[in-house]
């Protein structure tokens, strides 16, 4: 593939999975340093772990920065426009940011999934495209996460636990203001949820359109705003929101559950783990997925087109996807892995009880389509909330 990388100091086109370390390690050592961005506040400790291992192994210094995803995206876009060197070499960015970043030409054109040795067990579902967008391996997920329904089992008997979207609605109407639904535009668990609702209620033509990954963001927005197909979704939300609490974000939902104001809510699996570890959720907190599936997603690590330390960045991403680190991440952060050889069985039972049970995951995990989620969220605002 043609490369859009500006600062290559080695012949990238010659690199294969087999000769990767032979070519890249010396080049990376020559570069001597690599800059990494992390957009997820809760991942700092994980990256610290990785960096310690990386620096010990290769003796290459990692300059690490926690960033605000949106700001960093805009920074990189601006840099790209100006044709300057990128300030970062390896950027851990939201999976949903790909369309924005790639359309601005920020993503470096490297077939990572085919040349990184540690990606030999990479899930083919994400290897060449992400949520229906082809990226040719340049934007590989290194962390998977799953939206889910979380509940405090102290207040909900196992028999009462909703299993479908209809049951969830019924439960909410029976327990007014005890279900928290994250506003889609303020948290992925909400965005994932609205898309999951749509997946559940739309059929035929409508469903085809809903899962048409070739739609651009504008087209998706147009469709969501105008299509009759979505009436069932709006109806569902109208009823749901008259009985449930609309919250201002993932953390907001969890916080209200910790305050024992809500008993159930839309959540991210990995974030729940972080909160449990920080004792900000009760021990009795559990997760489940609804029948017909809820959205799963992930975050990627990529090399910007104008990165200065490409070789070192490759080496870092390679290590991030390595089995050791992925296993560590799974146990400690409930961060699922795109590696096919790393399954839930590896998790200790102590941790496992806070994660989605294997009866529903990965069975009920549906692929995300963030542009559509976003479109649905905006349309929800317009058609339901603002009426």
């Amino acid at each position: 593939a043609e490369t859009n990388l500006k600062n290559l100091d080695f012949d990238l086109s010659k690199v294969t999975r087999d000769n990767f370390y032979d070519i890249v390690v010396p080049a990376a050592k020559a570069e001597g340093t690599v800059t990494m961005y992390n957009f997820a506040g809760s991942f700092g400790d994980a990256w610290k772990e990785l960096i310690t291992r990386f620096e010990a192994r290769y003796g290459i210094k990692v300059e690490y920065s926690d960033v605000n995803g949106a700001q960093a995206d805009q920074q990189l876009i601006a840099v790209q426009k100006a044709g300057e060197d990128a300030p970062v070499d390896a950027y851990f960015a939201g999976g949903g940011d790909y369309p924005l970043l790639s359309s601005a030409g920020v993503v470096g054109n490297i077939p990572l999934t085919t040349i990184l040795p540690n990606m030999d067990h990479y899930d083919p579902a994400f290897a060449q495209s992400l949520f229906g967008r082809p990226h040719g391996g340049a934007y590989p997920l290194v962390h998977l996460n799953q939206t889910a329904i979380g509940y405090d089992s102290a207040f909900i008997k196992p028999g009462d636990l909703p299993k479908t979207f209809d049951e969830l609605l019924a439960w909410a109407e029976k327990n007014p203001m005890r279900l928290g639904v994250t506003l889609p535009s303020k948290g992925g668990s909400g965005g994932g949820f609205i898309y999951s609702v749509a997946l559940n209620y739309l059929t035929g033509e409508c469903r085809t359109k809903l899962t048409d990954y070739t739609l651009t963001a504008e087209q998706a927005a147009d469709w969501a705003m105008t299509s009759e197909c979505l009436e069932p979704v709006w109806d569902y939300y109208r009823r749901l929101l008259s009985a449930a609490e609309l919250t201002n974000g993932n953390a907001d939902t969890l916080n209200l559950i910790n305050n024992q104001q809500l008993y159930m809510g839309t959540v991210w699996e990995d974030q729940v783990m972080t909160f449990i570890r920080g004792k900000q959720l009760p021990d009795t907190f559990r997760l489940t997925l609804l029948e017909n599936g809820q959205v799963g997603s992930g975050d990627a690590m990529f090399v910007p087109a104008n990165a200065k330390h490409v070789a070192a960045a490759l080496l870092l991403i390679d290590m991030a996807i390595g089995k050791d680190f992925q296993a560590w991440k799974l146990e400690n952060k409930a961060s699922r892995s795109p590696r096919t050889d790393l399954t839930g069985d590896l998790i200790t039972p102590e941790t496992a009880k806070y994660l989605l049970p294997s009866s529903v995951y990965p069975r009920l995990s549906a692929p995300a389509f963030w542009d559509m989620s976003k479109a649905l969220g905006d349309a929800l605002d317009e058609k339901v909330l603002s009426q």
Partner: protein, 286 residues
């Protein structure tokens, strides 16, 4: 009229008395405690609480590990240092740039003054985000991105308006005759500026400097786009944890304290030199 005077004696005026004074101060300090001290204390408790769910009014278990983790980050110290250096330079540079302009605003009558006044106030009115993106572009073009200089230059946009206004207010109070007297005693322009205007602008400079310092210390949007990741300030380092959609209260509480502490210290120290009348003269008229 005499009738009036005779019917009124019962309407004895309440005069402020010794016991009222005690009442007032008790009331005011109680209000202060409830609205300012209590939230701060609770925030501190959150930062050291190891789990804090209802019905507990006060956490049962405590931990310092989060503080330790946070403070152990070597980047934090560097960021704090950066922030301080930047804030100091921004404060001085702002004063320097603002002085002549404030002098013109205070001393020269001219027709477009109102327009200039609004323009100077505009950065306070226009959302920072709108400007930040534009500036990012300009700075990349000028090669100022990722540099201390760039961050300083961009922060001054935010601190300049208040400084100019406060200095203008301070300079307006210098009588013309003082300048004339200095000139009649043989001082040239430089002498007048150095020995008369600058010393007399000190209250304004202090008030403006204080606000500039705090403003610079807390600025995020513009600094990030221009400076990160090479120049990391405290807010850049910490705001990620304050992402409103995923913030964890205990961590956020620690961050809040780290961000707040220097500002609070400066404010408490400088509260003494911050002259209310100047603040009011600078901001209390449009």
């Amino acid at each position: 009229m005499t009738i009036l005077a005779e019917t009124l004696p019962t309407a004895r005026a309440r005069v402020f008395q010794e016991d009222d004074r005690l009442l007032v101060s008790t009331g005011l300090y109680a209000a202060l405690g409830l609205t300012i001290a209590l939230p701060l204390v609770l925030m501190f408790l959150w930062s050291v609480a190891d789990g804090w769910a209802p019905p507990h009014v006060i956490p049962r278990d405590y931990t310092l590990s989060r503080w330790m983790d946070m403070i152990a980050d070597p980047g934090l110290l560097r960021a704090a240092l950066n922030s301080t250096v930047i804030a100091v330079i921004v404060t001085f540079a702002t004063g320097l740039i603002a002085l002549p302009t404030a002098w013109a605003m205070a001393r020269f009558p001219f027709r477009l003054k109102r327009v200039v006044e609004i323009f100077i106030l505009a950065p306070v009115i226009i959302p920072g985000l709108v400007v930040a993106v534009g500036i990012g572009q300009v700075f990349l073009f000028l090669g100022l991105s990722y540099s201390m200089t760039g961050v300083i230059l961009v922060q001054i946009v935010g601190t300049l308006p208040l400084m100019i206004r406060l200095l203008t207010a301070a300079l307006e109070t210098i009588p013309d005759d003082l300048i004339h007297a200095a000139r009649s005693l043989g001082a040239g322009t430089a002498g007048v500026v150095l020995h008369i205007i600058l010393p007399l602008a000190v209250p304004g400079l202090l008030a403006g400097g204080l606000l500039s310092f705090i403003g610079s210390f807390e600025e995020f949007d513009k600094s990030f786009i221009v400076g990160a990741p090479v120049i990391e300030t405290l807010p850049i380092k910490l705001y990620i944890f304050l992402n409103p959609y995923s913030l964890q209260l205990p961590v956020a509480a620690i961050i809040a304290f780290i961000l707040l502490l220097p500002a609070l210290i400066v404010f408490v120290i400088a509260g003494r030199i911050l002259r209310d009348d100047l603040m009011a003269a600078g901001m209390g008229k449009l």
